[in-house]
């Protein structure tokens, strides 16, 4: 009996940890941040997380496209250096 209660307390620690992590995820995702005070189901959080990551991946693809065209027009090293300087002034 003692071992069973020990097992359930270990698994409830993991459950608490997961619940805590899932709520952190909920705060991070813009779609769900407005519903901060509602309880959103884990499956919903996971779904929105996947959608968000996919949209971020798409943005990186699009930006890489745009940059490949914009940077094609840099002829000289000095143009390149100017662009890099603007990167540094973030």
């Amino acid at each position: 009996r003692r071992s069973r209660s020990k097992q359930s307390s270990v698994s409830s620690i993991a459950d608490d940890q997961i619940t805590d992590l899932v709520s952190k995820l909920q705060h991070l995702i813009p779609e769900l941040r407005r519903r901060r005070f509602d309880k959103v189901s884990t499956s919903k959080v996971l779904q929105e997380t996947c959608n968000y990551i996919r949209s971020l991946h798409r943005e990186v693809e699009d930006l890489s496209d745009r940059l490949s065209q914009l940077l094609a027009s840099t002829d000289s090293d000095s143009d390149q250096a100017a662009i890099i300087r603007s990167l540094l002034m973030q």
């Binding site: 995820l25 990551i53 940059l67 490949s68 914009l70 002829d75």
Partner: protein, 168 residues
């Protein structure tokens, strides 16, 4: 392990500049597609190396930068839709007792969580080897890093667009 946003951004910018200079992206003999791949590769490598080996996803991304990322998983999303449809049908049938309905709803929720966890694993680099706790911790870090990457790339794109406008 968790870095403040500004530190992460500085690390990313530093590493990306190094990467861009190395791949000589302004080489005129490059096609636009090659240039795009070089830019994306240098951005991904910079994002991963900014974490300095502290996260699983960053190590996985550095060791396998060209892994195909699934953009749509049609099979998984149609399976999820079937589960949701089935749950609605079951809830409508009056024959089920309340306890039985609760049981079915719970098992459907568990099924959805399992399926969506699988999808998430396919999206995080190295995700297929992670347990649940690790997966969510890595996801939090990965999303933060992706946002920094998008942020910096976007400001470079607008700066370049402004620079290429004809001066009056």
């Amino acid at each position: 392990m968790h870095l403040p946003h500004s530190t992460l951004k500085q690390e990313f910018v530093k590493k990306w500049i190094m990467g861009l200079q190395r791949c000589k992206f302004s080489n005129k003999n490059m096609s636009i597609l090659e240039r795009k791949k070089a830019i994306k590769l240098s951005a991904d490598t910079a994002m991963a190396s900014a974490r300095k080996g502290l996260t699983c996803w960053s190590r996985a991304l550095i060791s396998n930068p060209d892994r195909p990322v699934p953009t749509t998983t049609r099979r998984a999303s149609s399976a999820c839709k079937k589960i949701v449809k089935r749950s609605r049908r079951i809830r409508r049938t009056a024959k089920c007792g309340a306890a039985r309905k609760g049981q079915i709803t719970r098992s459907i929720a568990q099924c959805l969580v399992r399926k969506r966890t699988q999808i998430l694993k396919s999206l995080i680099p190295g995700g297929e080897f992670m347990n649940e706790v690790c997966l969510i911790e890595e996801t939090l870090d990965y999303i933060t890093s992706l946002r920094v990457q998008v942020d910096v790339m976007r400001s470079l794109a607008s700066a370049s667009a402004r620079a290429s406008e004809p001066h009056n």
